[in-house]
């Protein structure tokens, strides 16, 4: 699974960082970024999906590995 944050949509609500800090971080302006590189380990997939479902700005997209 892969995950992406759309920087245009993200308004720094920080739900993703609270729910899955292993995968998301926030910068000095509160903007989210994905810190996990490459494919998301299976053990974190459920939490990444939860983070995406909790983003009020609908800024997080998850997709299957190509």
């Amino acid at each position: 699974m892969r995950v992406r944050v759309d920087a245009q949509r993200c308004q720094g609500q920080n739900r993703c960082y609270a729910l899955a800090p292993e995968v998301f971080d926030v910068d000095d302006l509160g903007q989210a970024l994905v810190i996990a590189t490459g494919s998301i380990p299976q053990s974190l997939e459920a939490r990444v999906r939860l983070a995406a479902a909790n983003c009020p700005e609908r800024a997080i997209t998850v997709s299957d590995d190509d």
């Binding site: 609500q13 920080n14 909790n54």
Partner: protein
């Protein structure tokens, strides 16, 4: 003023065609009113305030919050007059600013409110809460307290005084200003102007004192801040400080009160949180969803059609985020309060570019204030006096009588609370 004076206020007949947020009935019965409007309307209208609209569906509220082309934030609190402010900033940047100036005014403040910076404040906030609980004095099981006045209201005021470096003893004073401005929509305009002038004079005095003796606080930070190398205009500095007081106190106070009210009236949830405190952050998100305190307004820039409704230039449009949060099209079991709700993309802090700048601070205050309250009072139930709700765009209990069923000794904090380096510390 661009619209004629409003007709004298009368009780609301039909909420779909004649709503009024300044009627006490609105906040008391809000959940029923939204649900009724959602099924038969779903964009209510009133001719009061020179014309205003109230959408209640998530999709509509979302659409307007994201659309800065058709709507301006020049006015975010409904009144009988439209604010006249020259320039891009509006009276209280960034909340009253539109793009592109909004982005600059907001970027300036973002670092001070970013999650990692805010997390540093936890020990200070905890001490402020403990001190407030100690101030209740010797209470024992069976006694009643007003949790809205004696606790929920005190915490955010004390936190904002600290962040802004305002004298802690002024806390009553500026809470009075905030109340005057937020709950006085239908007062005569000259009375509102007098209240605004008093608030401005107070803030000017504080800013001047900080210029003479700079401190490690947000007032000093704003007085020294620049945009494109230019210091901020004095009205910008004052407007932003006023905004932080206006936006940071009644909102947090309201949600803290609503959360305590919920727990008093839902003993199973109270028991569950007592036994499993790690559920608290999830429960707070659910309280934010269901009791979202803030309704913001916009003004229509140019007349246009909105899903069959003729929005006129300078009409008010309200954004009741709590109504969006209870829309069954977006939330399952929307009117039930499930403190372990896992999927909860609520809009309590707004949507789009004006997303609450204080959301990380508000979440921290709410968690710490509830943890400390539950530590001192593990068990409580509704007291004898009925809950009294606020009037206007910020919804929450203003009187909340609780009967304490179990009381722990207060933790006596030191009288002076050490100040965590915050605004200037950059690691």
């Amino acid at each position: 003023m661009t619209k004629p004076a409003p007709p004298p206020q009368a009780p609301v007949g039909d909420w779909a065609t004649d709503f009024d947020l300044a009627e006490p009935e609105y906040n008391e019965r809000a959940v029923e009113i939204w649900s009724d409007l959602r099924s038969r309307c779903p964009v209510a209208h009133t001719t009061r305030y020179g014309g205003a609209w109230l959408p209640v569906r998530h999709e509509h509220i979302r659409q307007i919050a994201y659309d800065t082309e058709h709507y301006t934030s020049r006015g975010v609190v409904v009144g009988n007059l439209r604010p006249i402010v020259p320039g891009p900033a509006g009276a209280a940047p960034p909340i009253t600013s539109d793009p592109p100036f909004h982005g600059e005014a907001r970027r300036l403040l973002l670092p001070a409110f970013a999650p990692k910076r805010i997390a540093l404040l936890e020990p200070d906030i905890r001490l402020l809460c403990q001190r407030q609980l100690a101030k209740l004095g010797s209470v024992s099981a069976g006694d009643q307290i007003d949790a809205a006045v004696d606790y929920a209201q005190q915490v955010p005021g004390a936190v904002m005084a600290r962040l802004l470096g305002l004298p802690e003893t002024d806390h009553e004073l500026f809470r009075g200003f905030v109340h005057d401005l937020l709950e006085g929509v239908n007062l005569p305009e000259d009375e509102m102007a007098r209240r605004r002038d008093r608030f401005d004079a107070y803030l000017d005095e504080q800013i001047a004192a900080h210029r003479r003796a700079p401190q490690d606080d947000l007032t000093t930070f704003l007085s020294e801040a620049t945009i494109d190398g230019q210091p901020l205009a004095p009205q910008h500095v004052r407007g932003t400080i006023a905004l932080l007081l206006l936006a940071g106190i009644d909102t947090t106070w309201s949600l803290l009160g609503s959360s305590l009210h919920h727990l008093a009236t839902h003993q199973a949830d109270l028991k569950r949180l007592r036994e499993n405190p790690s559920l608290l952050p999830t429960a707070i998100e659910e309280f934010l969803r269901a009791y979202a305190p803030a309704t913001m307004a916009r003004l229509v820039k140019q007349s246009h059609d909105f899903h069959g409704h003729a929005f006129q230039e300078e009409d008010w449009v309200l954004l009741p985020f709590a109504a969006a949060n209870r829309d069954p099209e977006v939330f399952e079991r929307a009117d039930e309060i499930l403190i372990d709700r896992a999927v909860n993309p609520h809009a309590a802090f707004g949507l789009g570019i004006h997303r609450c700048l204080g959301s990380n601070l508000a979440r921290l205050e709410l968690r710490v204030a509830l943890e400390e309250f539950l530590a001192r009072f593990p068990s409580f139930e509704p007291g004898d006096e009925a809950v009294r709700w606020s009037v206007g765009q910020i919804r929450g209990p203003r009187r909340l009588s609780l009967r304490l069923l179990e009381v722990q000794n207060p933790i006596a904090p030191e009288t002076t609370i050490p100040r965590t380096e915050y605004t200037r510390s950059r690691s």
